[in-house]
């Protein structure tokens, strides 16, 4: 009889693509193995997955969140060590970092996709107002001022209601330019830098300057409000993650472009957040480990990378073999990978292991800073204090 593998995932948006493209492609090549993609709402995913793993009723293939969430599962021996999986060699150590133990010895998820931060803009609006794409911080503010003065468009489509929008699309988006990407991030982890250092406070100071350019009542503006504001043509610039591309393509009635986070001064090295987001792992309790490994190897193949990245523009493959993107906007995002230095989100690795959770705190403080309820300095101090309370960097 056929072996059926169940894939646990939070990506319910991808259900159609799995059913129509990915699964048929795999099943065609691997008769006797059936795949069922069984997604859960993202908000419920971690909790329900943990419960199912603990009770032993989870699916064979587990979609992995990056960094600690999955590491925890591996440490609990709920995920299988995939270091030697055929196909793993297709990924660079950086790509695998999000799903590798701290000592770098074991990898337990096949990297599937990353997302890149930047800004998506309304090309029609830029053309109408005669604005060119800003390269530096100053040009960025000049552009915003111009849009604001014109009044047709809300300069920046972002709200603070959902908190994470402020942190992810704001802080993590522009931050790497100031803390110099991996350099700063590693220094922070090593305890050589502190969140109260200027490199880390500066992004907050920039964020604080955004307030006047946001729409009325941005405090209660939700993430989907922001998306709608932009796609309905009411806002000019959208601080984005690349995952928006597919949706925006289908909804926006105007031409769009993208630009990477503007650098502080002309000639500065640019940094982008190219963040590993999705991986897949093997449930240690799976009764069909062999078949599942077959599937995982296939996920690690360039073939999968091509299908996936092109069906889901904005989710970029982490495969070493470059994928040719057919979507221009996606191509624009991925094209930054060369000239700009990639880094992952600063709070994801190691630093959010304790309580208080640095990522959560960053959400709260980013929103506070934009709302003006906390000054950048105070916010930074709070974050550092929280971190100090439990994090002792290895000396």
């Amino acid at each position: 009889a056929d072996v059926t593998l169940t894939v646990e995932s939070w990506r319910n948006d991808d259900l159609q693509i799995w059913q129509e493209k990915i699964i048929p492609a795999f099943e065609a090549k691997n008769p006797g193995i059936k795949i069922v993609f069984s997604p859960t709402a993202p908000t419920e995913y971690n909790a329900s997955l943990n419960a199912k793993l603990d009770a032993g009723s989870a699916g064979d293939i587990i979609t992995c969140r990056p960094f600690d969430a999955s590491l925890e599962l591996f440490n609990k021996k709920q995920l299988v060590d995939l270091t030697g999986l055929p196909g793993m060699e297709n990924f660079s150590p950086v790509a695998k970092a999000a799903w590798t133990t701290d000592d770098g010895k074991s990898t337990f998820c096949v990297p599937m996709a990353s997302v890149i931060h930047g800004f998506i803009y309304n090309k029609d609006a830029f053309d109408k107002l005669g604005i060119s794409v800003p390269k530096t911080q100053d040009e960025f503010y000049a552009a915003l001022d111009k849009i604001k003065a014109d009044g047709t468009y809300i300069p920046l489509a972002m709200g603070t209601k959902d908190l994470w929008e402020a942190a992810t699309m704001g802080y993590q988006n522009i931050g790497p330019n100031y803390w110099k990407g991996e350099e700063g991030r590693e220094a922070l982890i090593a305890g050589k830098q502190k969140l109260t250092d200027p490199e880390w406070v500066k992004p907050y100071e920039e964020l604080a300057k955004w307030k006047p350019y946001l729409g009325d009542g941005f405090e209660a503006q939700t993430y989907s409000d922001s998306q709608n504001l932009f796609t309905l043509g009411r806002a000019a610039i959208y601080p984005a993650g690349s995952w928006e591309i597919a949706l925006f393509n289908s909804q926006a009635q105007f031409k769009m472009g993208a630009f990477p986070p503007p650098v502080p001064k002309t000639g500065d090295t640019g940094y982008i957040s190219d963040h590993p987001d999705i991986g897949v792992a093997l449930n240690a309790k799976s009764t069909h480990a062999e078949e599942a490994k077959k599937f995982l190897s296939w996920v690690a193949s360039p073939e999968f990378a091509d299908i996936y990245a092109n069906s889901l523009p904005g989710f970029f493959s982490l495969n070493s073999t470059p994928v040719k993107m057919s979507d221009p906007l996606a191509q624009e995002f991925v094209s930054w990978r060369g000239p700009y230095k990639s880094t992952v989100r600063s709070t994801y690795q190691i630093l959010s292991r304790g309580t208080p959770n640095l990522e959560n705190e960053t959400w709260v403080e980013s929103a506070n800073v934009i709302n003006g309820t906390n000054t950048p300095a105070v916010a930074a101090e709070k974050l550092q204090k929280g971190l100090d309370s439990w994090y002792k960097p290895a000396k």
Binding site: N46, N50, F67, D216, G217, F218, E219, A220, W363, V364
Partner: protein, 315 residues
């Protein structure tokens, strides 16, 4: 009841075993104990354990010490508790009085369209919190503009603010949404209680000149006091367990700046984890235990003090 009132004190003769009591209790006891109580005890037990050097170990009350001793845990906890008390107070002052009032209006005799009113007013209670959260976020959204537009209609647009995004009003706004959703519960319970008041007692009051409001206050209200007791305790329990609505409206971090964080959201965040925050079953169970003790105190107060004093009238 009366038949056994004084049995214990005086008649020394043993009464035969009343097997029917066991039979009545048994199915509920079994299902409830097996599927609910045992798993919950299993969970609450975790509050006495924690991971020490990667191994689960018995730590006694150490988790509680952390919760109340560690300034950050304590801050979060007290913040949630205070917010929860406000949340509860708003329910008691808004939801329950309005619910009682609506039930009283619905029970006005010979009123046409009662079934429609009742269904319409109960509809929000039927909705899942997903729907409620979604709709109200939209209505209160400054972008979608329904609320400002409506305030504009009555010339009060200047009153509008992005309430859900401001730390002061957010808690009140969420509480009011919750009131809107759950008003059907007091309404239904009180309605059922009002209907069980005998017609003749009301008629006697009519003849006595006790009509309208006075009739409600002096005759009906005392007779439905037990039902009001129930809705109060249900509100209390419900509010101290609430989290769904805040999760959907304000997110797991109960923003802005934790201003809408209540015990339920704190517990769920801690227990199940959130985003990068890993679920901490031990601390979660610790919070759950504290919440349980708070609620238990409230319920015991009700069961052993209030309910015992409250007179019930058999009709």
């Amino acid at each position: 009841m009366s038949e056994t009132d004084n049995a214990a004190d005086i008649v020394p003769i043993k009464r035969p075993v009343r097997w029917h009591i066991f039979v009545f209790m048994l199915p509920a006891l079994i299902v409830y104990s097996a599927v609910m109580v045992l798993p919950l005890i299993e969970t609450l037990r975790l509050s006495l354990y924690n991971t020490v050097d990667g191994q689960p170990a018995f730590v006694g009350l150490a988790n509680f010490k952390v919760l109340f001793g560690d300034p950050r845990w304590a801050r979060d906890f007290w913040n949630a508790l205070v917010n929860n008390l406000i949340f509860f107070a708003i329910h008691m002052c808004v939801q329950n009085p309005i619910g009682v009032a609506l039930a009283a209006l619905l029970s006005v005799p010979k009123l046409r369209g009662v079934a429609f009113y009742r269904t319409a007013m109960f509809l929000p209670t039927l909705l899942s919190f997903v729907i409620v959260g979604f709709i109200w976020k939209l209505i209160l959204s400054p972008i979608w503009g329904v609320a400002p537009w409506m305030l504009d209609l009555i010339g009060l647009k200047f009153l509008f603010a992005p309430w859900l995004g401001q730390s002061g009003p957010a808690l009140i706004a969420v509480s009011l949404i919750s009131n809107w959703q759950y008003i059907g519960i007091p309404m239904m319970l009180i309605y059922a209680a009002l209907l069980s008041i005998p017609e003749e007692v009301i008629e006697a009051a009519e003849c006595d000149g006790i009509t309208g409001w006075a009739q409600f206050w002096k005759i009906k209200l005392p007779l439905i006091l037990p039902a009001i007791g129930i809705i109060s305790i249900l509100t209390f329990v419900g509010n101290f367990n609430a989290f769904d609505l805040i999760y959907t409206v304000q997110g797991a971090l109960a923003g802005p700046d934790m201003s809408t964080d209540i015990l339920g959201t704190l517990l769920y965040r801690t227990f199940f984890g959130f985003q990068l925050q890993l679920g901490d079953r031990s601390m979660g169970a610790t919070i759950a235990t504290v919440m349980f003790l708070i609620i238990l105190a409230g319920v015991s107060l009700y069961l052993f003090v209030i309910q015992r004093r409250m007179r019930r009238y058999q009709f």
